[in-house]
């Protein structure tokens, strides 16, 4: 994998010396079948400020960027067993025990939003590597927060449970049943 990556990087760098054009091929691609029912998603905004200064440098060099990272809440449909849905035709009710709601981080915006920039005349503009570094720092902080602060997951899970309840109640109602929805622990 690493060798392949190095080879493709080298080949692409050689291509750069000629006239560059867009590339479509993936270095690596993994497609996995999923069996998920997504009920809620959450956008979390991170803002990062870069400031580089020293007494002998004239002018400011400040840049503030932001972007969103995303989480979602879902139930794994493959965990839904036939015995989890029990119809009572006489009473016109159905008892449904859904798999537990899970959450996952699904990614972040590719683009950055420029919130503020103040680059003095004698200071150099930010380059793409510096912006990548800013994003990397913000991302590390985001992952730490998601890991340490259960509030994000709790809020998302609650929203997804509410939505799942409403959805299945409506679905069974259309079929003539009053549904009682619960979740596996």
């Amino acid at each position: 994998m690493t060798l392949l990556r190095i080879a493709v990087c080298a080949a692409s760098l050689i291509l750069m010396s000629a006239c560059a054009k867009r590339d479509n091929t993936a270095l690596y691609q993994e497609i996995k079948s999923a069996d998920k029912m997504v009920f809620a998603s959450m956008a979390i905004t991170k803002t990062a400020k870069l400031e580089s200064s020293d007494w002998y440098k004239i002018g400011k060099r400040i840049a503030v960027y932001s972007y969103d990272s995303y989480m979602r809440a879902y139930i794994d449909l493959s965990a839904l067993q036939p015995e989890d849905i029990q119809f009572d035709d006489n009473a016109g009710t159905v008892k449904v025990i859904l798999p537990p709601v899970r959450t996952e981080v699904i990614g972040r915006d590719m683009e950055l939003r420029r919130e503020y920039e103040n680059i003095g005349l004698l200071r150099s503009d930010l380059d793409s590597r510096e912006r990548a570094e800013i994003k990397e720092k913000a991302n590390a902080s985001f992952r730490k927060e998601v890991e340490e602060n259960p509030e994000f997951r709790r809020q998302l899970t609650e929203t997804a449970r509410r939505k799942a309840r409403r959805y299945f109640e409506t679905l069974f109602e259309a079929n003539g049943y009053t549904a009682v929805i619960d979740f596996k622990p």
Binding site: I31, K32, M37, A40, S128
Partner: protein, 199 residues
């Protein structure tokens, strides 16, 4: 003798000044990056079937405004189907539904170094005299191209087709459980609802 000492002193001072100048010119100024706490900006409710999860690493070679960038990006994505507003015909013995258009969510991954800029350079006339630095807008234009190319790849390599087939199967299983009747899922665009846009 005094004259000689004076000359040596001047030379030492000059050398020190040149050394200090070079030091300050080449030294990297102190750089700090402060990150604010994450803020929930949006929570969205939905009912979507996720048929396929995608993970990929793509090389990025693009030219914007006579500037070339080479980078490597790690991507995560999914192919989903919005089943909340889907029309269900449950009138007969068989429940009939039509598979909705696919939604392709594509993001930059959140692993370490998911956006790695290897090199940038200016090309074209007077390239040596122009900056090779991309502005945020130019960088965002590169990212928009990446997204478009990655989507095109998902249509061309059959990922979307596979996701639609999987999605139809998932939907059938789910609705058969709910309705306790046979379910017929029709797919009007097995190659993808937006296949023609990515030729």
């Amino acid at each position: 003798m005094i004259k000689r000492i004076k000359l040596i002193l001047i030379a030492v001072v000059l050398l020190a000044a040149v050394a200090a100048g070079l030091y300050f010119y080449f030294s990297t100024p102190k750089k700090t990056i402060d990150v604010s706490e994450g803020r929930v900006s949006r929570i969205e409710e939905m009912v979507r079937l996720c048929a396929v999860d995608i993970y990929s690493e793509v090389p990025v070679l693009d030219t914007i405004d006579n500037k070339v960038m080479f980078a490597v990006q790690k991507q995560k994505g999914s192919v989903l189907f919005d089943i909340e507003n889907m029309q269900v015909d449950a009138g007969g013995d068989t429940v009939r539904v039509t598979l909705p258009p696919e939604i392709i969510d594509l993001y930059e991954a959140t692993e370490d170094n998911s956006w790695e800029v290897i090199d940038t350079k200016a090309v074209g006339p007077m390239a040596m005299l122009r900056s090779d630095k991309f502005t945020v807008e130019e960088e965002n234009a590169v990212k928009a191209n990446i997204k478009r190319n990655s989507r095109r790849l998902l249509y061309r390599n059959g990922t979307v087709k596979r996701a639609r087939a999987d999605g139809a199967q998932m939907l059938r299983t789910l609705l058969e459980t709910v309705y306790d009747r046979p379910v017929l899922v029709t797919d009007p665009t097995p190659d993808g609802a937006h296949f023609s846009e990515y030729r």
